[in-house]
Symmetry: C2
Subunit: 216 residues, 2 copies
């Protein structure tokens, strides 16, 4: 559902100990498109939310007041471990996110989507060093260890932290247009990996053998 | 000057319309080293500071109460244009930053350092699409158009936005150790460009010829 002014709405789920770059990498590029995309920062309550690194971002709206959004973005970070055990949060996330046009996550955010049942029957990826935890959150998910990001239907899940920028640019390419995504990558001087199968970090984390990875 | 607990202190200068990734790219990697580095977010006053993209971060301390810091980080963003015309801000920045062990900037943040006189006699770089503006802020600076980042003495200036992550990792490599920086890059799954002369965006922005750039 778009806002009355026809902008797309991106809802970002903040929580205590979220990973900074999981949020602000994607938001950097979505946010440059302010004429086309409205960003809504959500938190347990409205107000400051402390990141895993310490600095706080501001949640404008409490989960309980979240508007319906076109795009949902769930970051990872240390805080996912506690949240994945909170039925009230997972119920809210499942209900709120399921009406979105695109449901996306960065890093261990896919563990939260999985715990909420939002990845059942889908392919997905996650942070490479925390893959065991994330993949344990959803047994009906086809977890892909070697991928920069995975697009399956309207589910978009990225690998760890910086991979969220690559996924966000690909999603912008799909929604807004490939030329816009290319220009955004140049504008923020980001070496965008456009191939979702590019992933040297899976082998480095021991998820696939180095030989298999290099043979791709 | 270190804190009593011997952590290094990183002071980040927030201002209205700062560029999100200029701040949160470097802070992502510095912030993982929480046992060794304390981050202090500074603003015109303590409280929320709106980014160029919209979402706000929280300044813990007002400029006027800023502690002496070991590392200074000045981001870029649209807000630099107005700040470069504010003598009170520039005087504060010059006085506060000049005692730091390392003075760093991301993107058009080097325009603010230059306007404050902090780059006089130094080499520096900046955002490639805003190079004309940044370089006009300091005529006694040797501006380097083609560089991912420039280290000159204790001044570290990076190219646009994402380049701040490469510079931050290099600075961490120098201060904390190269193995730590390598591990951080893998941990955040970032394709770190370790060569400060790697810069395809200078030619794309027309600052150097494509042929000259490719001949490097």
């Amino acid at each position: 559902m778009s806002e009355p002014d026809d902008k797309l709405t991106l809802g970002v789920v903040l929580f205590e100990e979220f990973e900074l770059l999981d949020v602000f990498g994607p938001i950097e590029v979505f946010g440059i498109l302010r004429d086309q995309i409205s960003i809504v920062m959500l938190g347990p309550v409205a107000g400051p939310v402390a990141s895993a690194q310490g600095p706080s971002a501001v949640a404008e709206v409490a989960y309980s007041d979240a508007p319906q959004c076109d795009i949902v973005l769930v970051p990872g970070g240390h805080g996912t471990r506690a949240l994945a055990l909170e039925p009230a949060f997972l119920n809210w996330l499942r209900t709120w996110a399921s009406s979105a046009t695109y449901i996306s996550s960065v890093c261990t955010g896919s563990g939260l989507l999985a715990a909420a049942g939002l990845l059942d029957g889908f392919q997905a990826t996650s942070n490479k060093r925390s893959f065991a935890w994330a993949s344990s959150q959803g047994t009906s998910v086809r977890w892909i260890p070697e991928a920069r990001w995975v697009e399956d239907g309207n589910r978009w899940t990225s690998a760890g932290v910086a991979a969220g920028i690559d996924m966000a640019l690909a999603l912008i390419g799909k929604i807004v247009g490939p030329d816009v995504a290319d220009d955004l990558a140049d504008r923020v001087e980001y070496d965008w990996h456009r191939d979702p199968s590019w992933d040297p970090f899976a082998a480095k984390a021991g998820l696939v053998s180095q030989e298999k990875s290099e043979a791709r």
